[in-house]
Amino acid sequence: MLVRGEDEDAEPRRDAELVRAAQRGSEEAVETLFRRHWRRAHRAAFLIVRDAAAAEDIAQEAFLAAMRALDRFDRRRPFRPWLHRIVVNRAIDHARARALRREVGEDAIGEPAAPEVEAGLDPDLATALAALDPEQRAAIVLRYLLEYTPGEIARMLELPRGTVNSRLRRGLDHLAAALEGVPR
């Protein structure tokens, strides 16, 4: 039985069972894995690239890449960080490519003329997030949306832990004023 929006944070053991079943050919397991993880992956991509259409493409391509590699996936490893690593790295690549076009003084054609409205997000916080560079946004998203520890983030992004801590600290400092205004 599939439940849309089922809690993606459910225990890794369930993911491992689903991966095992998917590797044995269960369509239901593949769909359950997809449904469990889609929304978080999609939102993470969106918060990094801030473009709904691009985020959908990135998340979709990440799932395709992950599912295609599933038969070689080592079941002893947790599925969720593996998937999120693919999503986040692709989102960073996309955001960097867009930023590169801006670097040359252009309003790139690939850049939305106005940021997408992050539905549910305080406008000041959205603006402050948009001002971070993609790597900082990725660290923030991994830490506070996907709830990975700095150590896990460092492993996922193949960065020194100090670099991750630094990105998180600077990111939080930058967001501080906007966070003050967020209704609690």
Binding site: G25, L47, R68, V104, E106, G110, L121, I140
Partner: protein, 419 residues
Amino acid sequence: MSSREQVLRDALDEVRVGDEGAAEDRAWRVVAAAGVAGVGRPERRRRHRWRAARVALVAALIALVVSPAGASVRHWVADRIEPGAPHAVPVLSSLPGHGSLLVDSAEGPWVVHPDGSKRLLGDYAEASWSPHGLYAVVTRGHELAAVEPDGTPRWTLTRPGHVELARWNGPDGFRIAYLEGRALRVVDGDGTGDRFIAGGAAAVAPAWRSGPGHEVAYATERGAVVAFSADSRRRIFATTPTSGPLRGVSRSASDVGGQRDVSGVAPDGGVLSLQWTGARLLVTRGDRVELLSGNDGRPVWTWTPPAGSRVRSATVAPGGDRVAVVTADGGTGRVLLIAKARPSRVLFAGPGKFAAPRWSPEGRWLLLPWTSADQWLFLEPGSGTGKLHAVAHLAKQFSPGDPTAARFPSVVGWCCTVH
């Protein structure tokens, strides 16, 4: 976790991205249609895997089969819904017809020879053939370069801005047009004489008119099409802009090669691609395909897709007598063949997305990249036999280094035999 961090966590947890349910369903249809979950499964399982895709395919094709235009595709349909389909071979072992492919991938551009062997040109972002396939022009960040088909560089040019979408003119090969940010620039074929031509260019590959005049057309960010003489900088024509600055248009790895991705929010009037055919310029937009007069830019022919469909790409066959158009209608993609004085004909339809097709150099074969299925389909539109060759697992074949980073490769050119 500090109170500030807690506020941030709660705020991010509230984020919603448009109609998330619809996006989820769209994505699942693509993932399911791609049939990616069954790598290495027993045949019995694979049948189940394709059941959902076949149901969607049947639904999408019934309308075609019962229509006059669909009569010619019945054999395709029968082929695709046959239990146990597809008949895709797992490895690209050869190309039908003559010529070599140029393919952009996550690892860089590849040259694929007729015998199926392939060579990575290097760590470049994208590539395009010279007119006779003797060289490829490649880009990487701020760098433009000409390389031989074995990857040996002949010259390089570095610009301050981001360089992309380089195209070599034909038949003399004396000029290369490329974009640096929003600027259209031209450099001579030997890497000298680099100069600015025009600003305000959209991220669409410029197109050279064949002949000695060195005339190049480009799209503007406002949806106009402009043709210039690259040598005299004389403007030949400019069409009326269709919109303000375009927004939200992204090129993705699955649909590069000078054609903008229209899976997102590309405005209907935006230019997706340009291609000269003789003295006329084929302009592909989301809502129509047009042939413009090369003299004054006036439309001499226009094709509009059926209601509810959008154009994703259009490619003229060598000889200029046929156009292959890819349309998208909800979750279904179609490739249609439009020929002079004949009704349009559906060559193939299926769930998910198709990227821009490429004609073989002699115009016999049409390579249709089926992005969602991770397959290339080689169609032979003129044979009347319904012959189809399918090759699967393209992403993995063109990203042997890291399967998790694999992206569906983009076919940017099918050129004359490489010497």
